[in-house]
């Protein structure tokens, strides 16, 4: 057996090795320039929302806030964002998996996710990976009580929502000239619902409310029939219904109220659902009357007008609401931080978010800034009522544009 001579092209010579090392050195030397070039491009923002599943209606409503954002951010002189969509499917485990996937695909900042349970899971991933998360909507207080360094929330916590709701309720009762003496409290049994229910229990005594809660009724988030719950609530003969729900169950509750021929003096909601566009479209005249005590937009702010115009252009017939406003504001925080940081580096972005001070926003309150825990503790609730298929603002006085209608028109008299 003879040894085959090695071909000239396959031989590793000292000259080839030197040329290879030189090329490698050149590429390595160019790498910082590559990063600089990336930093000059759009910021990759992973937007996690429940676009399908039980909360799909609200998730898709939040998505409208994402859809109208690019043109408005550009008009405000803010840098471009590349939105990477992630669907949490209204499920905590999917939310966690999608957050991980978006980060692995290059997301440099996360926004989301409407639901407290899903947001809690995403916050853990963001913190673990060192990627900033700007929460659009989620009220469970514990999310910003964990000592997280990368998590920021421009939305009130449960106790803030409840505290503001009680103040606004007193304003509404005074303006209406009616005060309920008793309420029955119906709440969904998910992370948000139990957080609000806990907050009501702890916060209510401090506010000296004019009514008493005659019964608390918790129900399953996946409940498909709420007839027993409404029968139980009706049997209390309470003046008003205090409720924390989502969209699907808000519609189920309304259907049952109609079927069981019970119209309380007022429906006082401290959660989503009752003001949503889908609620109006599905229930028509039956949608009128409920008052929601929720984070809302200030109709007198300049940005509100801009958002309303953009929404009317892109989605004719859809009303501006919390979902779109706070999702847009989360992207506003991201773009503002990116502009000031001048880099996609997560730490630089996080530092920039921490020093956010946006006063030209849309939500009620003095503006957007974050405390040491990453919470915007200045954002305020409003009181809004469904009237003639639209949302009108009853409180706080600075943001109000009309007076309350009290009591609700009986469902049976609505034609």
């Amino acid at each position: 057996m003879t040894r085959r001579p090695q071909s000239k092209s396959a031989r590793l010579t000292r000259r080839t090795l030197t040329a290879g090392l030189g090329a490698a050195g050149f590429i390595a030397g160019m790498a910082p320039f590559n990063i600089v070039r990336a930093a000059g491009g759009p910021l990759k923002v992973g937007v996690l929302l429940p676009r399908s599943g039980l909360q799909a209606g609200i998730g898709q409503d939040c998505q409208r806030g994402v859809d109208i954002a690019p043109a408005i951010l550009k008009s405000m002189g803010l840098p471009e964002l590349t939105v990477m969509n992630g669907d949490t499917e209204s499920n905590v485990d999917t939310a966690r998996a999608r957050a991980e996937k978006l980060i692995s695909e290059g997301a440099q900042l996360l926004v989301g996710a409407f639901d407290s349970g899903q947001t809690t899971a995403i916050a853990q991933v963001a913190e673990q990976k060192g990627i900033p998360l700007v929460i659009n909507i989620a009220g469970a207080p514990q999310i910003t009580e964990q000592g997280y360094k990368f998590v920021f929330r421009n939305f009130p916590t449960g106790p803030m929502i409840v505290g503001d709701a009680f103040n606004n309720q007193k304003e509404v009762f005074a303006a209406a000239g009616h005060t309920p003496k008793t309420v029955v409290f119906l709440h969904i049994n998910d992370t948000y619902g139990t957080a609000i229910a806990g907050a009501v229990e702890h916060v209510m005594p401090k506010f000296n409310m004019p009514y008493s809660i005659v019964e608390k009724i918790a129900y399953d988030p996946a409940a498909r029939d709420l007839s027993v719950e409404v029968t139980k609530a009706k049997a209390t003969n309470a003046d008003a219904l205090l409720v924390v729900s989502r969209l699907n169950d808000a519609m189920l509750l309304t259907r049952e109220l109609v079927k069981q021929r019970w119209t309380p003096q007022a429906i006082l909601s401290m959660g989503p659902g009752w003001y949503d566009d889908q609620y109006f479209k599905t229930l028509g005249k039956l949608a009128d009357g409920p008052i929601s005590f929720v984070p809302w937009y200030d109709p007198h702010k300049k940005l509100t007008g801009v958002l309303e115009a953009a929404l009317a252009k892109s989605f004719p017939g859809v009303q501006l609401n919390t979902n779109q406003v706070f999702t847009f504001e989360a992207l506003l925080v991201a773009a503002d931080a990116y502009k000031r940081a001048g880099s996609t580096d997560p730490k630089a972005l996080t530092d920039a978010i921490r020093t956010t001070n946006i006063t030209d926003n849309a939500s009620i309150g003095p503006g957007i800034s974050f405390n040491a825990k990453g919470q915007n503790d200045k954002v305020k609730d409003g009181a809004i009522q469904n009237r003639g298929g639209k949302d009108v603002i009853l409180a706080p006085q600075d943001a109000a544009n009309t007076k309350p209608e009290w009591p609700m028109t009986p469902y049976q008299n609505r034609g």
């Binding site: 399908s52 799909a56 918790a218 498909r224 029939d225 027993v228 719950e229 029968t231």
Partner: protein, 290 residues
Amino acid sequence: MPLEVYLNVAIGGVLTGLVYGLMALGLSVIFGVVRVVNFAHGEMMTVAMFLAVVLCSALHVDPLVLLVPIAAVLFVFGYVLQRGLINPFITRPEHSQFLLLVALAIIITNTLLIIFGPDARTVQTAYGFDSFQFGRIIVDAAKVYAGIAAIIFAAALFVFFRFTLIGKAIRAGADNHTGALVVGLDVKRLYALTFGLGAACVGAAGTMMTLLVDATPMLGPSYTLLAFVIVITGGLGSMPGALVGGVLIGLTEALAGLLFTPSAKSMFAFAILVLVLLFRPQGILGKRLA
């Protein structure tokens, strides 16, 4: 609480329980004759629910009008399924049957997810917000219609099994497999017919269920479990037992929601199951095995 509150809730529970009972009746009929436990039962019901949703919105008709056509479609589906897929597994060990039907359930759920997505879909009817008032008792109109339809469908099934030749032949095959073969009955065909009839029950129950709840692809496993709870409570293989079990579970869930907490409704249904298994393992109307 006033008496009418209990009556309102109890009537609603009984009416919902009748629809549950019809669904479970299908499971009971299949097991009673074919001796195969249909682990894809709830998923077949979601197929019927989506058929009802799609056809109602396309044809602008009431779900009750579609009750018989959808039951017929499910009958054909069940017949073909039994002849083509399940029949070869009848003599195989139970774990093989279990795996086959669980696989079928997963395939159905995921097919529905691919076609319709995970969102809830509903049927709009003219009486969607109606209720009947009898003094201080208020009853949901949709539940009344669904309950009446369930009784009529179940009665038709009883008549079929008791008074028709095919029904008698199916009962004979269930009672004595070898004897049925000896007298020349085509037992394989009878099994397929029975599976089809069980599927038709599910089709009718699913169509009526769209009046009461929104359809989502993920409903299947919970309805399969519910059907098992009902037939074991009522007596596995007993047709009247399935209806009685359905009504009992519907009533228990409703009253438990009223007397305790609504979020613990299912817990009480399982508590009934445990009690039945402890004190009457053959079920309320089931026959004790020799």
